[in-house]
C-alpha cells in the first residue's frame, strides 16, 4: 500500500515556512532517526523570532506509535518554550483510536482536522491573502 521503498523519508522531512508558521508534512512510514532529526530541525527553525506557530500535517501517516507520539509531544513542548504553538493536523481516525487505546492521549497537543483549520487556529492573518479566499478584483 505504501509503495516499494521502505520509507520515502529515509533522510529528512522538509520544514517549510509559510509567513510566520512552519509547516511540516509527514507521510508514510518514518524512521526513528528521521523523526529525531525532525525534532531538532523544528526546534532550530522555531527559534527564529518570526515564527509563532508550527503545523504538523499527519494526514499521510498510517500509524503513530509511542515513539512518534513522544516526538510530537516533545516538539510541542520545545516550541512552546520558544514562544510558538504547535498544532497537529489531519490525524486519521484509525490513528486516533489506536493512540487512545495505546494510552497516549497527548494532552499537550493542539489539534485540527485539516492543515487549513490549523493555520486559522494559529491566526494566520499574514498568510490569508494567499491561502484564504480569493480577492474580488475587477479585471
Amino acid at each position: 500500500m505504501t509503495g516499494l521503498s521502505p520509507s520515502p523519508y529515509g533522510g529528512q522531512v522538509p520544514v517549510l515556512r509559510i509567513g510566520d508558521v512552519l509547516l511540516v508534512t509527514l507521510q508514510g512510514d518514518l524512521h526513528d532517526g528521521t523523526a529525531e532529526q525532525l525534532q531538532q530541525d523544528v526546534s532550530e527553525a522555531a527559534a527564529d523570532s518570526r515564527v509563532n506557530g508550527v503545523v504538523i500535517d499527519l494526514s499521510g501517516v498510517e500509524i503513530v506509535d509511542s515513539f512518534l507520539g513522544r516526538v510530537l509531544a516533545d516538539i510541542a513542548a520545545k516550541t512552546r518554550l520558544l514562544a510558538a504553538e504547535t498544532v497537529v493536523a489531519g490525524m486519521r481516525p484509525a490513528v486516533a483510536i489506536t493512540l487512545v487505546e495505546l494510552g497516549l492521549t497527548l494532552p499537550g497537543l493542539r489539534t485540527a482536522l485539516s492543515t487549513e483549520e490549523a493555520l486559522r487556529l494559529l491566526g494566520g492573518a499574514s498568510i490569508s491573502p494567499r491561502y484564504g479566499r480569493t480577492r474580488q478584483e475587477s479585471p
Binding site: 500500500m1 500509524i63 487505546e101
Partner: protein, 146 residues
C-alpha cells in the same frame, strides 16, 4: 527473508530500518487477511512497539509472522524474540508508566491493549519472547471473558 505476497515471514530486527519493514509486512499481511482499517492500525502499532522493545531492550532479535485459523476465524500471530538481558519483573514492565529507557512507558502495556491475545515469556539472562495474536472478526472465545 520474505516471500512475495506471503503472509508468513521471519524478519530480523537489528536497526530502525527493520522496524519499518516489520510495520510494512504486518500491515500488508493484515490487509490481505481482511482486517479492517482500525484493526490493521492497532496491530501494526502493537508490532511497532514490540519490535522497538526487541531492538532497544533486547539488543535486536526477530519477528515471526504467521497466519492462524481458529474455528474458521482467521488471524495473525506475531512472535518477537530476542536473546537480551530479559525482564526480571514482568508485572512491573507491563504497568503503564513504567519505563526503563527513554520513552513514555506505554510500550508493553499499550501493545497488550491493542491485540486480542498477548503472551510474554522472559526471565533474566534468557531473553524475551512476546507472542501476540489478533483476529479478523471478534476473537473466537467466550465474550464473558472480557
Amino acid at each position: 527473508m520474505q516471500t512475495a505476497g506471503g503472509l508468513s515471514a521471519c524478519l530480523p530486527i537489528t536497526s530502525d530500518l527493520d522496524l519499518v519493514w516489520v510495520r510494512q509486512h504486518v500491515r500488508q499481511a493484515a490487509a490481505q487477511l481482511g482486517f479492517g482499517l482500525v484493526a490493521q492500525t492497532k496491530l501494526v502499532t502493537a508490532a511497532s512497539e514490540l519490535a522497538r522493545n526487541t531492538l532497544v531492550h533486547g539488543g535486536g532479535g526477530q519477528m515471526e509472522c504467521a497466519p492462524v485459523n481458529r474455528g474458521g476465524v482467521r488471524g495473525l500471530r506475531l512472535t518477537f524474540s530476542d536473546e537480551g538481558p530479559g525482564i526480571a519483573d514482568l508485572d512491573q514492565a507491563l504497568r503503564d508508566g513504567y519505563t526503563s529507557a527513554e520513552g513514555l512507558g506505554m510500550g508493553l502495556g499499550g501493545a497488550r491493549r491493542l491485540v486480542h491475545e498477548f503472551d510474554i515469556d522472559s526471565s533474566p539472562g534468557r531473553g524475551t519472547t512476546v507472542t501476540v495474536a489478533s483476529w479478523v472478526s471478534a476473537p473466537p472465545r467466550p465474550r464473558e471473558e472480557r
